[in-house]
């Protein structure tokens, strides 16, 4: 098996690992600078867009269109006093933001930004490097980034950061499961974990033969594997601690979460890591589901769209769309409660992702083996079985509900004990206080009498109504 796979992988990744040292250095520096500049832009973009969503203007005083705003934030933070509270574990406290930021940068190394281009006459792919296990590497680097958060929360020696760090780590590992499961379907289709090959696999649409009719499938996995895409989108928001899943830094509960005791540059590094992670998961989503750097449909009609430096532009455009979605969610949705959040992750996303993975695998295995008819009959059979099961379940549930209702009514029939357990207690709904009943009847009778005595129409009608009520009550009693 491995012998069959390995030559293929080596053949596909032949373009990588051949760069001279200066090309590697240029690419690495370019990626670092790109991520820093993009973060500065991103903060500004977020504040402007959120402001627009809230009918505000947003930063527009400092710099043209307020573009200097996030730069000013960064420089101001670096010029603030660095506080080290006395309860902290010094080494981990300093190391935590460094781990977070470094891992955020590293995760970006296998993201393909474009096809082969010429840099100073040297042909090289627009991607730092690629591995046969590229996507796994991104997930691994993201997981290492969690260390920064949990260590930062723990080492601060204070209550809020500890709780924030714990929450954050629990949240990120929970959503990493769903994220990984969402990616399995993509690997099934692409047959590779290398990012550049996944982009390549989305280049041309495949055709499927259903009952003699040839269907041209769209090439983007985001369309072909829509449920995977949606699960990934939800998981990536949970993974980056962004609203509506920004529970680790919920101001109303935890001050600023794991960052509470961090000031100045160390806080800035956490901040930077969060935004770089946003870019990384967006870039991964672009690569896995939206065709990577390949031009979207109307542009792809132009023959030169996927050559040279142009793809960088399409890639950035797609990443920006994802970033906008992040901001949109933040501007729209209120924060979830922690138990709701964990329920969504463990009880909805994971089973849905598992079932979807099995479905995709079954579909691919049967369709590629030429069992179209059996496959669709199988789907029909499963649907019928599920429907039947739901009917059975409904019947059982209805019967159980009826039984419970009868039980409840029987409980209601139980005589009211005003001193149950030795304390005076009020009657439960439906229970009657035995001593009060004759008095109520007497009042009703008196009001009925008053109604008949008064000859004016309205009051008489009211009296009659009360009489009827009291009669009904007497009948029930």
């Amino acid at each position: 098996m491995t012998a069959a796979v390995m030559p293929l992988a080596a053949g596909e990744l032949a373009a990588f690992g051949k760069d001279p040292w200066w090309i590697i250095l240029i690419k690495a520096v370019a990626i670092t600078v790109f991520l820093l500049v993009f973060t500065i832009f991103n903060v500004w973009f977020e504040r402007r867009v959120v402001a627009r969503m809230q009918h505000r203007v947003g930063p527009n005083v400092h710099g043209k269109f307020g573009l200097l705003q996030s730069l000013a934030d960064g420089i101001k933070l670096s010029l603030k006093e660095t506080i080290k509270p006395k309860g902290v574990d010094t080494i981990l406290y300093v190391l935590a933001p460094i781990i977070s930021a470094a891992m955020a940068f590293v995760a970006f190394s296998v993201i393909p930004l474009g096809p082969e281009v010429s840099i100073f006459g040297h042909r090289t792919p627009l991607q730092l490097t690629d591995l046969p296990v590229g996507v796994l590497f991104v997930l691994a680097a993201a997981s290492l980034g969690i260390y920064g958060i949990v260590l930062g929360g723990w080492s601060s020696g204070s209550t809020y950061p500890l709780l924030g760090g714990l929450r954050s780590s629990a949240q990120m590992i929970s959503y990493e499961v769903a994220m990984g499961l969402a990616l399995v379907a993509v690997f099934l289709y692409s047959g590779s974990m290398s990012t550049s090959e996944i982009v390549g696999a989305q280049a041309g649409g495949s055709a499927v033969d259903i009952f003699g009719v040839t269907l041209q499938l769209p090439s983007w996995y985001g369309v072909v594997l829509l449920p995977s895409f949606l699960i990934y989108m939800i998981a990536m928001v949970g993974e980056t601690n962004r609203a509506p899943f920004d529970l680790p830094e919920a101001e109303g509960e935890l001050v600023a979460g794991f960052m509470t005791e961090y000031s100045s540059m160390k806080y800035l590094l956490f901040f930077l890591a969060e935004y770089v992670n946003m870019v990384t998961v967006s870039a991964l989503a672009t690569t896995m589901f939206l065709g990577g750097w390949r031009a979207p449909w109307p542009i792809s009609l132009w023959a030169g769209a996927n050559e040279g430096w142009w793809p960088l532009l399409w890639f950035l455009g797609k990443v920006l769309v994802f970033l906008f979605v992040f901001i949109w969610l933040r501007g729209t949705l209120p924060r979830m409660r922690y138990d709701q959040f964990m329920r969504l992750g463990w009880k909805i996303l994971i089973p849905v992702a598992l079932v979807w993975t099995v479905f995709v695998a079954t579909a691919r295995a049967t369709l590629s083996a030429g069992y179209q008819r059996q496959f669709f009959f199988g789907i029909g059979a499963v649907v019928i079985v599920v429907l039947l099961l739901s009917f059975v379940y409904d019947a059982v549930a209805a019967r159980r509900e009826k039984a419970e209702e009868v039980e409840r009514e029987e409980a209601d029939q139980v005589e009211f004990d005003p001193f149950a357990g030795g304390y005076p207690v009020p009657p439960m709904p439906g229970q009657k206080v035995p001593g009060l009943e004759p008095a109520a009847v007497a009042v009703a009778a008196a009001s009925a009498g008053a109604g008949s005595a008064d000859s004016s129409g309205g009051a008489g009608a009211e009296g009659a109504g009360q009489q009827a009520d009291s009669g009904e009550e007497r009948g029930r009693g």
Binding site: R47, A51, Q54, H55, R56, V57, G58, P59, N60, V61, H62, G66, L68, Q69, L71, A72, D73, I75, K76, L77, L79, K80, E81, T82, I83, E251, V255, A256, M259, T260, E261, Y262, S263, S264, Y267
Partner: protein, 184 residues
């Protein structure tokens, strides 16, 4: 003392002063801290009509470790005073205090034993804002004046000179008891 405050006096220090002042004023993050009715006006100032976000001030930080400005919005009760002082102490340098409203500035109408008669008994105040409560326009004006103050603040040697001059002026000026006529 940081590096930027150890520079020798001269063109370099003046330039650094200008740049640092600009970036500090461009990004003043207030602490989330509201005490009474003035806080409602403070929230309005962050809202759509007045929008402090234009100056990059919509970032209300819940942790004082990341805040630059404490807007004391409302009367400070004797019980709140130590809390206020603790939060002020926990903010990193450089930090500023804006005393918003007449109650925070002087006790205002709460001339009684329960209220601190002016928050400057507890923390050093950079700018006083009268009004009961001040309208958001007034808060914006105070914020802009504070921005000016931050922009023109001195560093290092210049700061020391400035302090010395202030000390001298204070020593040479007539004390209140020696002043004649209407005190204004």
């Amino acid at each position: 003392m940081g590096i930027e405050e150890k520079l020798p006096a001269g063109v370099l220090l003046t330039t650094v002063e200008g740049v640092v002042g600009y970036f500090r004023k461009a990004s003043v993050w207030p602490a989330t801290f509201g005490l009474a009715c003035c806080a409602i006006e403070m929230m309005t100032t962050g809202g759509p009509v007045y929008d402090t976000g234009r100056f990059g001030m919509e970032v209300f930080r819940a942790s004082p470790r990341q805040a630059d400005l404490m807007i004391v919005a409302g009367r400070v009760s004797q019980k709140m005073a130590p809390v206020l002082r603790q939060i002020y102490d926990q903010m990193p340098e450089p930090k500023w205090v804006l005393s918003m409203g007449v109650c925070a500035s002087s006790g205002g109408m709460f001339n009684n034993y329960a209220i601190v008669q002016g928050v400057d008994h507890v923390v050093p105040v950079d700018i006083y804002l009268p009004g009961c409560p001040p309208r958001p326009e007034m808060l914006l004006d105070a914020i802009l004046k504070l921005h000016h103050k931050i922009q023109t603040s001195k560093l290092g040697v210049h700061k020391e000179q400035e302090l010395e001059e202030q000390e001298l002026t204070a020593l040479e000026s007539a004390s209140t008891s020696e002043m004649k006529g209407l005190l204004r």
